[in-house]
């Protein structure tokens, strides 16, 4: 149960890989996309029974670069490096871990910035709207390619947790454990409202050009930056923000009676927004926030989440964080209630951490101790066939 200092051990330098799929993928919307490519990274070794694979699903702005560093940039550390690696909660000495970039993203998998073979131009707004189900479908095809019939675990935080949940519903026989962290069975009206404001900021940016900004040699930087600022507010808790920034003024002892950066929090948000708009694709942001909005497995079951989860045979590990107001513990408790109605095996922890939604990326010792123990149990039961 010991939590290893995350800074000491790492999977090291990892080269991203790509899988090309020539057959088009049929999407929930009825549209098709293809041929397409999925970028992924792997850590650890697949065992002879091919039953020690763990799929890590990413959230809004992350990628397949989950752990370790990149060969061309040792400082580019994976987004969940504190969770995945040798001696870490998801121990790569025991598990074969896969990080995959979702379809529609902008880090190597086919997305709106990729060339549309039909036109020879970037897809732009012609790239279809993709859903969590579509991502999971594509991930399953990648798993086939890698020779993995059944994952020891599918794991994710936030939007990644939705994918883990969807895996358990869509492919019950292919998931032994679903690890769903800081997630929700559906967005609230408030969540959708924040997403909508973010999208409006992008769509109303004069540089958006109806989504075909690539041809104009510009990006809707301002809109994307504002979208990121809005998102970022929802990732932090009020207390965390108060503690980090409070009402501190930036570079002055008194008000300057203007609209440039006055407060530290403004400076921080602007910095986050500008950094993000420099590497993220606005069309991807639109699509991923839409995928979040649409996710609602209970919808096709009259709102009955237990019915939606009925096909799942996986054991579940759910974790929520007390200060997460984006996807608060209440949403996780709904999943727990539904899973209990279905007699699913489960572990549910509510971690009292101050970091809001972002807590799932932090290394709170109780959180990591729980995940470590969970994966120790997953590893212990590998090779058993009594489902």
């Amino acid at each position: 149960m010991a939590v290893v200092n995350p800074s000491t051990l790492s999977v090291g330098s990892v080269l991203a890989q790509e899988a090309e799929f020539s057959s088009p993928l049929r999407l929930v919307s009825g549209q098709e996309i293809g041929p397409y490519r999925l970028a992924y990274e792997t850590y650890g070794r697949l065992n002879a029974r091919a039953d020690n694979a763990v799929l890590i699903c990413h959230a809004l702005n992350a990628s397949h670069h989950v752990a370790g560093s990149r060969p061309d940039n040792p400082d580019d550390i994976g987004w969940w490096d504190n969770m995945i690696g040798p001696g870490k909660p998801v121990d790569t000495r025991q598990f074969f871990v896969i990080g995959v970039n979702n379809l529609g993203s902008c880090f190597g998998s086919t997305g709106p910035a990729s060339l549309n073979p039909a036109t020879g131009q970037p897809y732009g707004s012609d790239f279809p709207v993709v859903t969590v189900e579509d991502w999971v479908h594509a991930q399953a095809l990648l798993a086939d390619r890698l020779g993995i019939h059944r994952f020891a675990a599918v794991m994710g935080g936030s939007l990644g947790g939705m994918q883990a949940m969807q895996w358990a519903i869509s492919y019950p026989s292919r998931v032994a454990h679903a690890v769903v962290i800081a997630s929700t069975p559906r967005l609230s009206a408030q969540n959708i409202a924040f997403n909508e404001v973010a999208r409006r900021a992008i769509l109303n940016d004069p540089d958006f050009h109806g989504g075909h900004y690539y041809a104009h040699g510009v990006v809707p930087r301002h809109g994307l930056s504002v979208a990121r600022m809005i998102g970022h507010i929802t990732y932090l808790s009020d207390d965390d923000m108060a503690q980090k920034f409070g009402r501190s003024l930036r570079g002055a002892n008194d008000y300057r009676f203007g609209f440039d950066v006055e407060f530290e929090i403004e400076s921080y948000l602007r910095h986050q927004g500008e950094k993000f708009s420099g590497y993220f694709d606005a069309n991807t942001y639109l699509r991923i926030t839409r995928a979040l909005d649409y996710f609602d497995p209970a919808r096709s079951h009259g709102g009955d989440l237990a019915k939606a989860l009925a096909p799942a045979t996986a054991a579940f590990c759910l974790v929520s964080f007390t200060t997460d107001w984006r996807f608060p513990p209440e949403r996780s408790r709904e999943m727990v209630s539904a899973l209990m109605q279905n007699n699913a095996r489960l572990t549910y922890a509510e971690i009292d951490a101050p970091h809001g939604h972002d807590a799932f990326l932090m290394s709170d010792p109780r959180y990591h101790a729980l995940i470590s123990e969970y994966f120790r149990q997953v590893h212990r039961t590998l090779g058993r066939t009594d489902d």
Partner: protein, 244 residues
């Protein structure tokens, strides 16, 4: 409720070493063994304040029971996990809504009720969740406590290790008090046992239970509930999914 100690405190030093699920299920603390006696085979069980999960692990292993534990303390949660017990981190004092969609054969509340704020509401709610309820309570009417009080002090001893100013125990009741409350809430008592804890074992108390028992066990149901001895002959109508 500090469920590491199940409110009342460790029962006579019976703190089992932490065990891995691949080791045999440990022997049960004697008061829990008494509760386990009352749980029918194959029952769907909810153990509120399940502590380290040893009762649920034992019931799964020996009686084919399945179900869930609710626990507030993080360390206990991790121990439950290593025992292969399904566990939900919850403070039962904040309500039982998380369990309300499910029906159980048995809800167990072992030495935890005295540490809850909403004692009456919890009793009523848990009776709605299950056919039958098993509750164990410490008896504050035990003669040793009376002697302490007669000497002018609140009782502090092995079974009640807390000073009055830092005790998790909020509601002190004697066996008679508790039975009166059950009657007022229109619960039908199906079985009860008065016990005396001594050197890690429990012994039945046949006479003067209010003075001589340190612990009392009750099995009851809400009046008007369809539950009966016969109805509890259920076996696994909900086959529990095993970890793989």
């Amino acid at each position: 409720m500090t469920s590491e100690t199940r409110g009342m405190g460790p029962a006579d030093g019976q703190t089992a070493p932490e065990r891995d699920a691949d080791l045999p299920v440990p022997g049960l603390r004697s008061d829990l063994a008494k509760i386990a006696d009352w749980v029918p085979k194959g029952a769907r069980v909810l153990d509120l304040g399940c502590g380290d999960g040893s009762l649920l692990a034992w019931l799964a292993e020996n009686k084919g029971c399945h179900g869930y534990g609710a626990e507030i303390a993080h360390d206990n949660l991790v121990t439950c996990l290593s025992r292969g017990v399904s566990v939900v981190q919850a403070n039962i004092d904040e309500g039982l809504e998380i369990f309300s969609g499910s029906r159980f054969d048995i809800v167990i509340l072992s030495q935890a009720l005295q540490a809850t704020h909403q004692t009456e509401r919890i009793l009523t709610e848990i009776a709605q969740l299950a056919r039958e309820v098993i509750v164990s309570i410490p008896n504050f009417g035990h003669w040793s406590h009376l002697i302490s009080l007669a000497r002018g002090h609140m009782p502090v001893n092995r079974r009640l290790p807390y000073q009055w100013y830092d005790t998790p125990n909020l509601h002190f009741a004697t066996t008679q008090d508790f039975e009166q409350l059950l009657a007022r809430l229109q619960m039908t008592v199906l079985q009860k046992a008065y016990l005396r804890e001594s050197t890690g074992q429990v012994h039945p108390v046949r006479w003067w239970p209010t003075l001589r028992s340190t612990l009392a066990l009750y099995r009851f149901k809400a009046s008007g509930s369809v539950s009966s001895e016969k109805a509890l002959g259920v076996s696994s109508h909900h086959p529990h999914r095993r970890i793989t």
